[in-house]
C-alpha cells in the first residue's frame, strides 16, 4: 500500500470509524445503565435518547402510529431527526451507523483477508426493485396482523436488544438468530438483506430520493475502468449515474476506489 492509496481510503476508514463508534455506543450503554445507573444516554437505534434529545427510528414510529391508530407528539418529534437526516443525506443510516453494516463490514474485511481477493464477486440474484416491495409487504402484513413486525424482527434492532439482554439478564433472545441469518446471507451474496429485503432501508431510500448529498461523476476524468462497480457494496454502477438513484446509500466506497478521482460527493 502506498501513501497515496492510504490517503485515498479516507471515506472507508472514516466510515468504519463511525460504524465502530455507533456499535460501541450500543455496546456500552446498557452496561452504563445497569452498573452506574447512568441513564443520560439510553437505548439503541430503535429509540435512542441523549438527555432530552430523543430519536425514534422512522419505520418503527410509522408502524406504531399505523397499527395503534393514535398519534403521540413525542414520537413524531423523535422521528424528526432521522427523517431530516434521510431527506438531506439519503440512506446514510444504513451505511454509516447501522450495527448490521458494521458486522458485515468486519466480515467483509475478514473474507478479504482469508481469500486474499480485493473484491468479492458481485452477484445480484434478485431484481433490485424488490426492496420497495419488501417495504410495502412489511407494512401490509403489519396492518393485517395488527402488530408492528419490524419492531421485534429488525436485524439492527435485534443487535441492540441482544446486547441489552446479554448485559442486563445474561441471556439472549431466540430471535437473535435473524442477525446470524442476515450475516450468513451476506456471506453468500454481498449485502443480500440490505439490498433487497430491508424495509427500513427502503423507507430511508424513499425519503432520500431528493437528497442533497449525492455522488457525482466527472465524465472527463472517468476512464471507465469499472472499479467502482466492483467496489460498490450494493452492486450499483456509479459510472452510469446509478449513485444519484434512490438505491445509493452514500457510503463513499466508489470514491475511495476511483483512481482518477472522477467521483466526488456533491452537496
Amino acid at each position: 500500500m502506498t501513501s497515496r492509496s492510504a490517503k485515498k481510503a479516507f471515506y472507508g476508514r472514516f466510515r468504519l470509524f463511525c460504524l465502530a463508534t455507533a456499535f460501541c455506543l450500543i455496546l456500552v450503554v446498557p452496561a452504563l445503565n445497569k452498573y452506574l445507573h447512568f441513564s443520560f444516554i439510553q437505548g439503541w437505534f430503535q429509540s435512542l435518547s441523549i438527555g432530552h434529545l430523543w430519536f425514534v427510528s422512522p419505520l418503527e414510529g410509522i408502524e406504531s402510529i399505523l397499527t395503534s391508530k393514535t398519534i403521540y407528539a413525542p414520537l413524531l418529534v423523535g422521528m424528526l431527526g432521522p427523517v431530516l437526516l434521510a431527506l438531506l443525506l439519503g440512506r446514510v443510516f444504513c451505511s454509516w451507523i447501522c450495527p448490521i453494516s458494521f458486522l458485515s463490514e468486519l466480515l467483509d474485511r475478514f473474507i478479504r483477508l482469508v481469500t486474499r481477493k480485493r473484491f468479492r464477486k458481485q452477484a445480484s440474484p434478485l431484481p433490485r426493485k424488490l426492496i420497495w416491495f419488501a417495504l410495502l409487504g412489511e407494512v401490509i402484513i403489519t396492518l393485517i396482523i395488527g402488530a408492528p413486525i419490524f419492531v421485534f424482527l429488525s436485524p439492527p434492532g435485534l443487535v441492540g436488544r441482544e446486547i441489552m439482554m446479554a448485559t442486563l439478564f445474561h441471556t439472549l433472545a431466540i430471535e437473535g438468530i435473524i442477525v446470524v441469518i442476515v450475516l450468513l446471507l451476506h456471506m453468500a451474496s454481498r449485502r443480500l438483506f440490505c439490498r433487497y429485503l430491508c424495509p427500513l432501508g427502503a423507507l430511508l431510500g424513499i425519503l432520500g430520493i431528493k437528497r442533497r448529498l449525492i455522488i457525482t461523476k466527472d465524465p472527463e476524468k472517468c476512464v471507465e475502468c469499472s472499479l467502482c462497480k466492483k467496489a460498490c457494496p450494493l452492486g450499483l454502477d456509479p459510472a452510469t449515474g446509478e449513485t444519484t438513484s434512490a438505491y445509493c446509500w452514500n457510503c463513499g466506497e466508489c470514491i475511495d476506489i476511483c483512481k482518477t478521482r472522477a467521483l466526488t460527493f456533491r452537496w
Binding site: 439503541w44 406504531s64 431484481p127 408492528p148 419492531v151 441489552m164 442486563l168 439478564f169
Partner: protein
C-alpha cells in the same frame, strides 16, 4: 425420425424466457404470496383456537405491564420494543419477552413474584411512544391485589399474626388496611405494584401467593 423429433424439441428445451419477464412474474408472485400468506396467517391466528392461544397476551396473574401501560388490546401495536424501560429500570423488574410470545415479542413485563415494581416511575418518563403514559405513583394501576382467603394465614387460621403485605405496602392504610388484624385491599388506592405479592410468605402449589395481583386494568376495552 426420432432424431428429427429431438431436433424439433431441442430449441423448446433450451430456450429461455426473457429474464426481465421472468423477474416480473416472480416478483408479482412473491408479493401475492406474501400478502395472501399474511392474510391467511392473520385469519388462522384469530380463528383457530390452537393458534390464537399462541397470540394470547402474556399478561396474567402476577405478570404485569409496567406502570402507565395502555390496555393489552393496543399494547403490542403501540410499543416499538426499544427496550428503554427495561434499560432504565434500576431494580431490573422489567424484563422483555422473546419471540415465544409471538406478536408480543420484546414487550416489557414485570413478574412481581420475582422482582416487584418499586414505583420509581422512571420507565414512564422514557417511553417514546406513549405506550407507558406519564402518570404519577398514585395513579398507577398495574393491577389489583386480591387476597386468597383460603391461602392467607390470617384469614384461614386463628391467631396468625402475619401482616407482611400491610407492612410492605407503599400506600399503607390506604391500599391495604387491617380489619381485625386481617389485611383488606382497598381497590380505589391499590396500584398493583406487587410489593405485597413479593413479600407474602405463602407460596401455593400453583406458584401463586396468598395475595396476587390480577391485571384487571390491562384488559379494559379501548375507546377510539
Amino acid at each position: 425420425m426420432l432424431r428429427m423429433k429431438l431436433k424439433k424439441l431441442k430449441p423448446a428445451l433450451t430456450s429461455r424466457k426473457d429474464p426481465r419477464e421472468e423477474n416480473g412474474s416472480t416478483r408479482r408472485d412473491l408479493v401475492k404470496f406474501l400478502v395472501a400468506g399474511a392474510g391467511w396467517a392473520a385469519v388462522a391466528c384469530r380463528s383457530h383456537p390452537a393458534l390464537s392461544a399462541g397470540t394470547a397476551s402474556p399478561v396474567k396473574t402476577n405478570i404485569l405491564r409496567p406502570p402507565g401501560a395502555v390496555p393489552e388490546e393496543i399494547f403490542p401495536a403501540k410499543c416499538i420494543r426499544c427496550g428503554r424501560c427495561v434499560e432504565v429500570c434500576p431494580y431490573e423488574s422489567i424484563v422483555p419477552t422473546d419471540i415465544r410470545d409471538t406478536i408480543y415479542a420484546g414487550t416489557p413485563l414485570i413478574d412481581v413474584t420475582k422482582i416487584p415494581c418499586y414505583l420509581c416511575m422512571k420507565c414512564v418518563e422514557v417511553c417514546p411512544t406513549g405506550t407507558l403514559s406519564r402518570i404519577s405513583q398514585q395513579e398507577t394501576r398495574m393491577g389489583l391485589a386480591v387476597i386468597d382467603k383460603h391461602a392467607c394465614v390470617t384469614w384461614n387460621q386463628e391467631l396468625a399474626l402475619c401482616r407482611t403485605c400491610y407492612n410492605v405496602c407503599p400506600f399503607k392504610e390506604k391500599a391495604i388496611k387491617l380489619d381485625q388484624l386481617r389485611p383488606v385491599v382497598i381497590d380505589k388506592f391499590c396500584t398493583g405494584c406487587g410489593l405485597c405479592t413479593h413479600g407474602c410468605p405463602i407460596t401455593q402449589k400453583s406458584g401463586k401467593k396468598a395475595i396476587n395481583i390480577e391485571p384487571i386494568y390491562s384488559f379494559k376495552p379501548v375507546k377510539w
